[in-house]
């Protein structure tokens, strides 16, 4: 009967959709686990002892990213590539976390802002939608903002570890980032909210720099701060 047939037909779509989502969820779970592992590796930079280990920790993280790439490659096989945004919500969160981690590694290595291209390369994905599974610009920006917040923590902990130089460099970096974000017209969305948080990170770092500068700690280190 016609109506029944129609509903069976639609049910077919729905079931297929649910299967795809179930598959995606599983891979995403593994990715979240990976992201937590990389984070644990990188967390050690906040420890007083961790500062000199930065290169080795970054190398360790880079290794773990190769597993991430394998998982993302797996993820790509789970759904038709043109339907990226249909399932976007499933991996959006973890992709932002991974972007943050990639950006953090790059910052720790070179004190520069990771580009969207670099993140895409680290994660084994594309920059433009047309080419395949890609990194949405909002997700890239969200990841960068998570890193900004991590850097404000790093500035604080650098001082504790006796490194008075790093906070000033972080300050310059974050200020440049802030200038960049001011160029954007954001909607009242999660990204906007996160960006509002950046102001507090900037403020926190400014306070650290201030604390150093009134104690004459900044000046001396500033001279030695050209790397």
């Amino acid at each position: 009967m016609s109506v029944t047939e129609m509903f069976s037909y639609i049910q077919g779509f729905l079931s297929a959709d649910q299967d795809v989502r179930e598959d995606i969820r599983k891979v995403v779970q593994t990715l979240e686990q990976m992201a937590r592992e990389i984070l644990t590796v990188l967390q050690s930079v906040h420890q007083p002892s961790g500062f000199k280990e930065i290169p080795s920790k970054c190398a360790k993280a880079r290794e773990l990213f190769s597993t991430v790439r394998t998982q993302i490659a797996e993820l790509k096989t789970k759904f038709p590539v043109e339907q990226y945004y249909r399932f976007h919500e499933h991996w959006r969160f973890v992709l932002q976390r991974l972007t943050f981690l990639a950006a953090f590694v790059v910052y720790l290595e070179s004190e520069s802002l990771v580009t969207r291209e670099e993140v895409a390369q680290i994660l084994g994905i594309e920059v433009v939608r047309e080419k395949g599974f890609h990194l949405d610009v909002e997700d890239y920006l969200a990841g960068v903002l998570i890193m900004a917040s991590e850097l404000s923590r790093l500035a604080v902990n650098s001082v504790t570890a006796g490194d008075y130089n790093r906070p000033l460099r972080i300050s310059n970096f974050i200020n440049e980032l802030d200038s960049g974000f001011r160029l954007l017209n954001l909607k009242n969305d999660p990204l906007r909210k996160r960006y509002d948080g950046l102001k507090y990170d900037v403020k926190k770092i400014e306070e650290v720099v201030y604390d150093l500068s009134i104690r004459g700690l900044a000046k001396e280190s500033e001279s030695g701060g050209d790397k």
Partner: protein, 274 residues
């Protein structure tokens, strides 16, 4: 800004366009604004689609009270052609994009269109329009002037063909709303002394109801809310049939014949018992 001017100048210097960060963010700004603008345009088109679809539905309700039904159906078809034109604009905006990226902007309009198109289809054919049938009429041909035209027959040589695919979810949500209109049509029919349509409608609505029951919670989230309304509509239609039946039981013998002759063709043979 009076204090620590040197620091401030540092910052200013760094925000010169020459900075790669700033350069990158200018690109992001462009990208975000473009997307946002497109989203906004789609919302506006969707609102137009909604309004015109709703008006088509109102027009179709007139069919039960006027003699020239076909005229109204043709008028509705013409109105829906206009709506399809608008959907063509949506398709145009989505050319080369991932439909799902902007889905939330136009889903209300598309659902309302499905409601209107399936209502017209039901009135004409007394059957449920299929998703394919819906989509088959959403094929557009872009002319060289950038205009969009709803495809009638084969596209002219070299013309750009553009399609719009209604998602199964939007189709389902539109059909769920259709049931409300069918219920209204049923009550109107009783009020107009038409005793065949209600029984037909109750049959059809029950099929749709059973279909939704079958799909249950595997469908889109919004369905569950509409399901309650659907059940109420079905109840109203069943009550109407019940009333007709109960009253029909009182038909005096001498009137039975002609009432019977008009109904027996469409109704279940068992009905004749009275």
């Amino acid at each position: 800004m009076k204090k620590r001017e040197d620091a401030a100048q540092d910052r200013e210097a760094s925000s010169l366009p020459s900075s790669p960060v700033i350069a990158a963010f200018k690109v992001f700004q462009q990208e975000l604004d473009t997307k946002h603008d497109k989203y906004e345009r789609l919302i506006k088109i969707s609102r137009d689609v909604t309004i015109e679809s709703k008006r088509t539905i109102f027009l179709l309700h007139r069919v039960t009270s006027v003699p020239n039904a076909e005229e109204i159906l043709n008028e509705a078809d013409a109105k829906l052609d206009g709506v399809r034109q608008k959907i063509g604009q949506i398709a145009e905006e989505l050319r080369g994009e991932d439909l799902h990226q902007f889905h939330r902007a136009f889903t209300p309009g598309i659902q309302e269109y499905v409601e209107a198109a399936s209502f017209l289809h039901y009135i004409r054919h007394r059957s449920l329009i299929s998703l394919e049938e819906i989509n088959a009429r959403l094929v557009f041909i872009g002319t060289e002037k950038g205009d969009i035209r709803v495809s009638a027959d084969a596209p002219p040589e070299g013309a750009q063909v553009l399609t719009f695919q209604v998602t199964p979810s939007d189709y389902l949500l539109g059909v769920a709303d259709l049931t409300g209109e069918l219920m209204r049509m049923c009550i109107s029919s009783v009020g107009n002394g038409d005793i065949d349509t209600p029984f037909q409608l109750s049959q059809f609505l029950r099929q749709i109801h059973d279909g939704f029951s079958y799909i249950g919670n595997t469908g889109p989230y919004e369905i569950s809310k509409k399901l309650h309304t659907l059940r109420q509509s079905l109840g109203k239609v069943e009550d109407a049939c019940y009333t007709l039946r109960v009253r029909g039981s009182e038909i005096p013998k001498h009137m039975l014949a002609d009432v019977f002759s008009s109904r027996t063709t469409l109704m279940d043979p068992e009905e004749g018992v009275v």
